[in-house]
Each structure stands twice: as C-alpha cells, then as structure tokens.
Assembly symmetry: D2
Homo-oligomer: 390 residues x 4
C-alpha cells in the first residue's frame, strides 16, 4: 500500500528524469528544495502526501533509460554527481526502472487506449496506490487538424475510437488516466486532456486534471513584466521574443508542427494581460551546443507620455530542466492533494504553473499566485491577508 | 473660485514643467493620456476634480522659466513642438509664470517656514482654491545627519525652529503645506514630510501627504520582477544595478550626498520583496550627453533546483520626464480626491507610485496596484473582483 | 557638361532618397560629413570629383516620389526638417525628379535591357557626363534558380537574351551599365553584376563594378569582432544572430526568396574569418513599427583555456538609412575615381563597404580598410605607414 | 641545466596557479591549447623553448599554496578535476612548491631589492637556466604619488634606494630581474618596470621587458570594436563600461587606490583609437559570489549621418583566469625567445597582449596583431602577406 503513485509519460527525458531523481534527493535532504513552492510556507503546511510514501513508473518510447538520462544531467551540470550517486537516489532510479513500460506516440487509436489504461490500472493495483498522478513530460506533439470534429461526449469519443478515430498520443494517455479516475497533469503544449469529451470524462469519473505547458522561462518573465505596462498604462507597440535551446525539447521544436504548437502556447498571455495585441514575434532556434541551457531574449518597444519611445530588453539564461523539475514535483503533490480533497474536473487554481492554463483566463503571475494561495489556504485554515506574502 | 490649486516646488525642472504643460495638453486633448492611471477605467470613474478647473503656481530657485524648460523638452523630443505651441498650453504656461515665486534651498529655518507658508496661503486665498496640492519635484537633497534628534511633536518642532533649528528645505515646504491643511506629495527621495512631527502635524491639521520618490524606472521593473523569484522560490544570489542619466537630476546625483539618498531609496524594495538581501549594488553614472534619457541595467544571478546557476539581464531605456510627469498628474488628482473625501495623514494606498512608500511596507507592484484599487473602488461602489484588471 | 552623373536604381527608396538629399546637404554644408570616409584624411586628399559638379537621375518602379521619401525620412527623425527644407536640397530634389523614369522589376529580358540602356545613354549624353556611376539600392530580389546555366560570355549572354532568356532586373541594369562602359555599384544582395558574362563584359568595355550588399550593421560588427576570437584562438561554438527591421527593406525580406538571398549574404563572413563554421543562425523579423530603425542582436558562445564556457552578447540599434547613405556617397565617388584612373573590372579594394565583396575573400574589417588605404594612397603619393590610422 | 626558468610573482593567485598547472597540462596534452597563440601557425613555427624543458618558482606573500589555488580553480569549473589530478600536473605543482619563497609587498626599499635579487639569482644558478622570465601576476597595487621624482638613471636609483627611497614592490621585483639581465613581464597595471631608470637598466644589462596589464576582457573587446567606429567615421558620444568581478583581483580593486590604477589602465585605449575622447566611465563592482567569473557591460552611444542617434550595447561573460593564463604562457615563451634572439629593452611588439602597452601607442587589436606577426615572421623566414591570417 503506497500513498501516491506517480506515472511519468517520458521518464527518460530530461525533465522526467530530473523530477524522479530530484524527488528522491529532496526527500533524502541531499538537495535543498530550491524552486519548490510546496516546500516553503504557507503551502508546506498543507496536508500533502509525504515525499517518502511514493512509487514512480512510466511510459517511455526511446531506448534511453532513466539512469542514462540522469547521468546526462550530471554531465551538463544540472545535478551534482554526488547527489546522483548517493544510495537513496540510486535506489529510487532502480525502483523506477522496474516500472517503465513501452509507450505510444504519434496518432493512435482504441488499441493504444486499452493498452495504456491497462498499464495504468496494473500499476495502481500492484502497489495499492491510494492516489495516482499521471504527468506528461513527453516531447511536444504537432497539433493535428480536425480536433474540433472529435465528439464532445465520453461515449461519443469512445465509440469513435472503436470505429477507427486516431488521436495524438497525449490525448489517449489523458483519456486512459481520467477514465480510471486518476489525476492527469499536462506539462507540455500537446493536446492532453484539453478536449471537451475529456473534460466531461473527468467530471464523470471524479478525476482531476491540469495543464498546459509548464511556465518556466520566457513566458514566466512575460507574465511578471507585462502587468507593469498595463498598470502604468504604458502603450506596448511591439514585443519580439527569441529562444535558443539545444536539448531534445529544442530538437522536437525544430519541426514546424511542434514549433507551431509551442509558439501558439507561448503567445497566449500577452494580449490577455495587456488588453490588446502588440506587434509580436516568438522565434525558437535549435542550437545543439546549448544543451539543456536555454536563452530567452525579449525586446519590448513601448510609448510613454507625450509619445516618447522607450525600450526594455532582457536576456534570461537558465537550465530548462532545473526550472521545470520542481514545478513537476509541486504539481504532482498538489494534484494528489486535490484528489484527496475530493475535487473533480479542471484544477484552475494551478494556473500559476502553466503558460496556457486550462480553466483560467488569468495570466498575470502575481494574481495567479494569489489565486493559488486563496484556493488552498482554507485547507489549512489560514488567513489570506497574512499568508499571501511569498 | 477654483476647484484645485497645484503648487509645484521646482516648476522649471523637467518633471515640473512637463507636469504643467502635460496637464494642459491632456485637458485640451492635444495628447492622449498615455501613462495616466486616472484617465482609464476603473479610476477614471472616480469623482476627481475636473482637469480644467485648476490653477498652477510654484517655488523655483533657478533662473530658468517654466516656458524655457518646456522648450528644452521639445528639443529633447519629450514633447512635440506642435503641442507646446498650441494656444491652450501656451495659456497655461503664461498663467503659471505669473504664480511662480522664489523658493528656498539647503538647510533653512523659521523665517523660511513663515515665508513659504505665507506664499502658499496667499496662493490659496487669491484663487479661492477648494483644495491645494503641494508637489515636490525639486532636485534631490543630501540627507542631513541628526534628523532623528528633531522633536517629534508639532509644537516641539516649531519651538526648535524658532530657536534656530535648520531643516532641509523639503521638510520646511512640507511643514508649511501641512500646517495650512493642504495636501503634500513628495515625488523625490528628499526628507519632505517624513518626520514624526510632520506626521503628527498632518493628523492634527487634517492634511494628507504621500511619498516618497516616484517609482519610474529601474525600481519599477524591480518591483514587478522580484516577486517572480519569490513566487518561484528561486534563490537570488546577486542583483547588480547601474543607471546612466544626463539631466539635472543626474547632475544633482553626481554629488555624493544626494546620490547616497537616492541609492538608499532605490535599495529598499529588494530585500522587502525577497525576504532576504542578496549581494546588491546600485550605481549611478552622470553622462551629460544622455540628456533626459536614462538607461537602467540590471544583472541578476539566481539559483534553481539542483544548484543550477542562472541569470537575467535587462536594459531599460526611457525618458525620465515622460515617465514621471503622468505619475505627478495622477498623484495630484488622487491626493486632492483624498482631501475631498476627508482622509487625513499618510495616504498609504498610493504606495504603487513610490520607490519608498511612506506608510506601507508593500513593494510588490501588482499588490500595490490591488491595494490602490481596493481602497478606491468603494468610492465608486464598484466590485474589486470585477474591476481589478488593469 | 557635368563631371559626374549618378544614376540611382531605386531613388525613392529610403537609401536612395537619403543619398541624393544627403549629397546636396553635405555639399551645402548643411550637414557634417559624419559616416563619410571620403570626407576625412587621408581619403579626402584624393582627386575626387567635386560634390557640386554632379547630376542625379534614376529608375523607379513605385509611385512614390523622391521628395515624398525624403519627407518620410524627416518624419522618422533620420534627416532634420531644416536641412530638407533648405534651398540647396530642395533644388537638388527638384532636379532629380526631372530625371527619374520608370524602371523594370522581376525577371526581364532583351527588351528591358535595350530600354534601360537607352535611358542610361540618354542621361549621359543629355548632360555630357564625363563619368556615370549606376548605383543599385532597389529592394532585394529573390535569387533565381539556374543562374549557373547563363552563358559565360557577353556575346553568349546577349544572344540568349535575344532568344528569350530572362534575368533578374538587377542583372539587366548591370548589363546595360557595363555595356555602356559606366561604373556599376551593387549595394544590395541581388544578382547585379556578379555573373561571369558581366565580369567579362566589364573588362571588355573598360567598365568598373563593385558589390555586393552594403555592410552597415550586424555584419559590420561581426567582421570587426570575429577577428578578436581568431587572434586570441578562442573557440567559437555558436553565433546566433537576429535582426528586427520595419522599413521597406524589412517588408521585402519578409518574403522567403529575398530573405534567403539576404541570409546567404550575411552568413558569408563568419567562417571566412574564423577558419571554421560555428553553429550559426541568422534570423530576420519584419516588425513594421520599427520603421527605419533596425536592431541586431548577437549571442556568441565561445570556449577558452581549460574549456571554460564564455559568452558575448550584443545589441546594435541604428537607422538603416543613416548607416547606408554615407557609404553610397563614398562608393559613388570612389567608383568614379577608379573610372577616371583607368581601372577596369571588379574594384576589389572596395571590399570594406560590402557584406559579400566581389573579388575579395578578405572579410576582416580592419584588413579591408588597410587594403583600401593601400590601394588609394599611391594616388596621392602618401605613405601607408603614416596614414593608415583612421 | 634547464632551458627556461619561469619565476612567478604571485604563483598562488588564480592566474599564477592556472599558468603553472595549465603549462603542465598542455605539455602533457591533457588540455588543448585553446587561447594560446604560440601553439598555432604561424607562431608555432617559431624556435620557442620547448614546453618540457622548464622549471617554475616564485614569490608569494599569502599563506595559500599553489596546489590550494589549483583546487579552487577546479571548484569554480575553470580547470577539469581529471586534468588537475593527472600525474604530470601533480608533479609540476609539487616541483613548483619547492621553489616558492616569501615575497615582498607594499612600499619597500634596498633590503627588499637585495633579497629578491638573491632569490632570483639562486633560482637561476641552482637550475642552470639558460633563460629566466619573471612574470608579475600579483594583486594590483595602488599607484603611489611622487614616482616622477624617482631618479631617472640606474645609478641614481640604486643610490636613492640605499638612501632610504621606497618603491612599490612590483618595481623592486622588476629592478632585481632586470639588474640580473632576466626578462620581466608585467601582467598587471602595477608600476613594474615602467620607470625611466628601469628602462635604462634593461638596456644597460641587455634585459628585455614588457607590459602592462593583460588585455583579457572589456579592453580586448574595446580595441577590436572601437576601430569600427573610427573606420566608418561614426561619432562616438559616450562609452560607459562596467565590470563585475568576484575573485581576489576584484577584492583588491575594491580599494580606491588599486581601482584608480586599473581604471587608468582601462581608459587608455579609447581616445588613442578614436582620435578624440568621448564621455566615458569605467566602473568596477566587487561582488564575491561571481567568483572567478567576470562580466563586462558596455553601452556606446554614437551618431551617424544626419545626426541619427544609435547605440551598441554588449555584455561579455568570461572566466578571468581562463582568459589570462594562456596569455601568460604565450608571453613567457615569447619573452624567452626575444632574450635568446638578443633583443634588449622594451618588447613593443607584444603590445597585442596588454591594455596599456609599454613602448607602443598602437591600441587597435588587429594592427597590434599584424605588428606581432610582422616582427616575428622574419625569425622563421615566412612571408607576412601569406601568414598574417589568424
């Protein structure tokens, strides 16, 4: 009997591997909980599932093992060698290795759905998990045409699948998880659970879900900065953004399909915050020698009183994985909590974690944070006015 | 009988002149209200004093006229020539010129206090102003030693002044304004009204006051961005800031005394927001050829999960005057409203306008904005949840 | 009888118009010769054609007049209004207007060649020009396929044209100019004179030519900076470049064809200077609100002793037209001088002016400058060792 | 009998330690010669002293050992652990440790001179060194007042020293080295050999010397970039530079005296290259958490044709030590070669290595490089025109 099962789609990707190894390292106090909001007040006072009562598994399609991926993170300077070689981390990786099975990719149908659902059910039952969270950190998919023709009810969807409909793998994973009443978190801009039929399915099965696309870099800054222009009534004329990245995520985004999906996800917040759409570009360059390090460059032209033309330019350099992994750990724990609290459907209060939050039109970082705190403080009986300070 | 008198300390400085000319230009719809928060919903629905029922005056110490200063703003590209040469603006400048009298500077005493108070009282009475707001936009003073020995009660203060005590001119101006029950707004980091005796005087006379140091550039960005690090629990190791400016403000800050006052004011927000003090530097370079344009450069080193070392670097280029003048217009109108609403003492809800807000320890821009909205919406009977969106 | 005729292909574009108006302004001492290398020692000592013995004409395809274009430059702050409205400049623009005739564009053939040649011959004869320089500042063309199949001799080329071959307009202009023995300067990355048959034609007719693509911004910096890495044996791993521009040039480059031609031109220098090709990207964003201002952003990752990973990042903001026009004036004068000195064929010593110099494989800015000086100093009998200092 | 003795003043500083360990690592082919100009054509064809026939020693004042310093470089990621732990490097460090003796610092006199000269002579004799190069990489000294009163002849200087004159330690080291006919290289902005009496002493004793202040970062870029503005006749209005550093060098520069010496050294090149002095600032911030990494930020405002106001802004991030150590290795080898070739006095051809080259007024990087090549190619009988390409 385990309190929490975590099923990672893409456990041998950088983010997946760092989430699994990082969870073990934090639990063993080999790493400080930098970047984890659930490890500091006020959220650390929530009745979260304990870090040490957990089992990891996952679906992987590449040949790389989770341990290989973790070694790569050491080579890139993302995780210290001493942490990865410590016994608790090695034990966690070995335990996970035994729970990884072959995943699905591309456009898939009913057979894939049944197989995935079976894998998830067996994982849950084998360990007697009180709760299971399914986390999607697989490579970004291209957004297929015709998704709006997919039937909008669970029954309609299942019938269509049996009749030959094929969906992006991320949606099939989500369908399987939600059909079993598990929690599903989509950390990528892929389709995932964001189809009408899956929203309905989650409500019907009492499952929770959240997404999409972890807000880890350029969009994080954008949603912190753009409110400044709005609050001050400064007129933004153009906002040009470029990204350079070199890891597998970058390679995937070098294909036009996934790139378009990502650019769509990254572009959503600006007009929502400003109330109008300035001229805007979002470029993505895949430069392999950058490895896991990504650079975001933004150049903003704005206008002040009297028409004065002003600029703000910024460069952000960060490790993609180091920024993403703690959000994954937080999301897993908060989704499991929601499940335990009896919530169902979209977890809109988790918008602060996502570029393109399902169930929320709020993109301003600070207000998303207030929404998260406001939703959770009643759970610990605390007072928002006192505790909102990060 | 005029609804509102505005008394500017430093009307022939760039900010003073742009505030006076800009007010007239906005009133005549020669300029759009870019940068003015009181001109857009929800604050535009407040019962503010109308823009056209106002008279300007001021204390000036230099030989430059307000009209000269406005011509300088045109030469620098801050205000369009066509706007400044339009009849309504020329009329406003001419009317103001007739109301400017010689000010005081340096360390001054009881005689200066009496003279300033007389000037203010005559201005109010001559025009029958329902309300008068005194706005300090004079050059930054050095912060003198020994201010903590100044008596803490109005009576004690006045007695000490009569006995020979000398105070920075900004405090004498504030004392005169508050003693008459007028509103006082300190847009500079000078002492102004921030002495215990003057806080008490404001309460005793039913006067309102606010300050200090308009948040127009680097600190504005800082208080928008720093919450991002706090919310995400990213560890900021160092935050190095440099400023380049070329106008009179820059020349004043080239002296060690005023520079120290300014640096103190600029440094306050970071530790308040983060909850700890990273290594930090704030440099100010006076480079005359920059004119009214100021450049702020920030380089932030922070640490993520696993100890990954990341950076954010940004460069802001703006016109100091164009950023400051609309805040002055907003502050004048909001201080006059507070006076009309019967408030007294420090206007803490105006913190969003200041680097170093008197009466508030909140530095996060978005939360300062919410505090402003939350304070004012009851005046128009609106609902915060609906209207908070900028 | 005029010493120099200047025929501009694209006189109503920004660069063409600024070259024509700027020439008149410098001649009348309304503007200082900032950015002109022929106006300062040592090159000012060359026996150049005097600035006041010149007539301008050109081929234009759009409906905009040169005077309209000049007004646009004033509106964007590139040229001062007072300069443009001065009598000498207005006279020069009026005189040019009378000499502008309708040009050709796209893929064109023998008829176009004959018409253009006729226009040029009539211009030369009408004014009795001792020398004529044809300057191409028209919009960038897409580079057509199949240029390598174009016959390599002048006779072969003319026969093919009569037989129906169509070439990019820039090549037809170049053919017409060179066939008449005139000087041809290609300031764009379009094909122009860079075909084997046209090289041969220039030699046969005693004509001179130079190109291609004025080195005005990002490539200028690149060819100044890249030698630093080479000299210090620092290993450049990646060099990512982005450009933002908003003028007609930018609009033209928003089409994939011209953009590819431009990117090809911009990419040539790096490997030539370093001796190896680092990972490299060159992006171009068309953002109309930038107007004539262009921003170049470069991020260079390099490696030092012991494998330390270092970076250099730079942002250049300049007016495209203000950077290009003085180079055009210099090129016109230096091409006319070469013609007078009896040179023929490619003017390889002008490499310092071009992104992709015809006839030279030297891309290092300083060495290109030395080559220019070394070539020209004998003309004035000066000593290189003394005069090389800029 | 050893071909070359290298005496390092400050061997346990970062640069000294990296030079010693790096020399051994390159000799053993544990590191590639990135950043070394003497290891690549054409300079690699010079008859340089072989890397493996060398002995290191030095004067140190702190308690830190060279091996400790090398461990610090590993901790900071400057040198790989595997390299430092390899047998050849460990052997070299052990051999050096036996040759380090206690140095002098501050203002010192005749006793210090005699002691230092004795240490150097014994080192040379003990190992029978054919040549000895003394390299100063100790912390920057404050520049003392009154140096212009120091006697200008060797005899006058020695008499004054015996009579009680005290000089900065760096000058005493230089005097001792030159008096023995050894080569002296000053990699710092301290006084070193740049006194008239020491110039005369070098010539009298047949010694060679070079300096000062290794050109490793911001000034390196400046001297590559500034010629671009000069060549293009673009008018530089201001050039603001800031540096952030965190190592011992940074701590030393946090004192006003050494900082002024450094700023003086850094400011020399700009006016020399441009031919006029733009408004200019050079700031240095000591931020300990930066460790060995230094960041240089430059913001250049310049003016083009028609008065258009343009900017170039750049940020350089590099490891101070990794940039400096290969220059030290090159300088040692080239100074030893000069000694062997019978040169005497200032080695002006080494200007490319220094911020403030003694004996040369040329600051342009590319022309300094040409001067180096031009001076050395005759030694290998090569042809400059062919070999100048880096």
């Amino acid at each position: 009997m385990v309190a929490l099962g975590v099923w990672v789609i893409g456990p041998a990707g950088n983010v997946g591997a760092c989430t699994i190894a990082g969870w073990a390292a934090v639990r063993a106090e080999l790493l400080p909980p930098t970047g984890l909001v659930t490890a500091a007040p006020p959220l650390s006072e929530l009745p979260l599932a304990p870090l040490d009562d957990v089992v990891f598994g996952g679906h992987e399609i590449g040949g790389r093992s989770v341990a290989d991926a973790v070694r790569g993170l050491v080579a890139e300077g993302i995780l210290p060698a001493a942490v990865v070689e410590a016994a608790p981390v090695r034990a966690a990786l070995a335990a996970t290795a035994a729970e990884v099975c072959r995943g699905v990719t591309g456009l898939v149908g009913w057979d894939a759905f049944e197989r995935v659902r079976g894998d998830l059910a067996r994982f849950r039952d084998r360990h007697g998990c009180a709760h299971v969270v399914v986390l999607n950190v697989a490579s970004t998919e291209a957004r297929p045409d015709g998704l709006e023709q997919v039937p909008a009810t669970p029954d309609g969807l299942f019938e269509a699948l049996r009749g030959g409909l094929r969906l992006p793998a991320s949606a099939i994973y989500a369908a399987a998880a939600l059909d079993l009443g598990l929690a599903y978190v989509n950390f990528t801009p892929s389709t995932g659970s964001d189809l009408p039929a899956l929203h309905a399915l989650a409500l019907a099965r009492g499952a929770v879900h959240a997404g999409s696309d972890g807000k880890t870099g350029q969009t994080l800054i954008k949603t912190a900065l753009a409110p400044m222009f709005a609050i001050r009534r400064l007129q933004v004329n153009s906002w040009v953004s470029h990204n350079i990245l070199g890891n597998d995520d970058g390679r995937a985004l070098d294909d036009p399909g996934p790139r378009a999906a990502k650019q769509h996800s990254k572009g959503a917040s600006l007009a929502a915050i400003l109330g109008y759409a300035p001229e805007s570009r979002v470029g993505i360059d895949y430069v392999p020698s950058y490895g896991d390090w990504k650079v975001a460059w933004d150049r903003i032209c704005f206008e002040g009183f009297g028409g004065a033309q002003m600029t703000l330019e910024l460069t952000w350099r960060g490790s993609d994985t180091s920024l993403a992994a703690p959000l994954c750990i937080d999301l897993i724990r908060l989704a499991a909590l929601a499940q335990r609290q009896g919530e169902r459907g979209v977890l809109a209060h988790l918008a602060v974690f996502f570029k393109n939050p399902i169930g929320s039109s709020e993109h301003r970082l600070e207000l998303q944070w207030l929404a998260l705190i406001g939703h959770l403080l009643p759970v610990i009986g605390a007072d928002l006015a006192v505790e909102a300070a990060p």
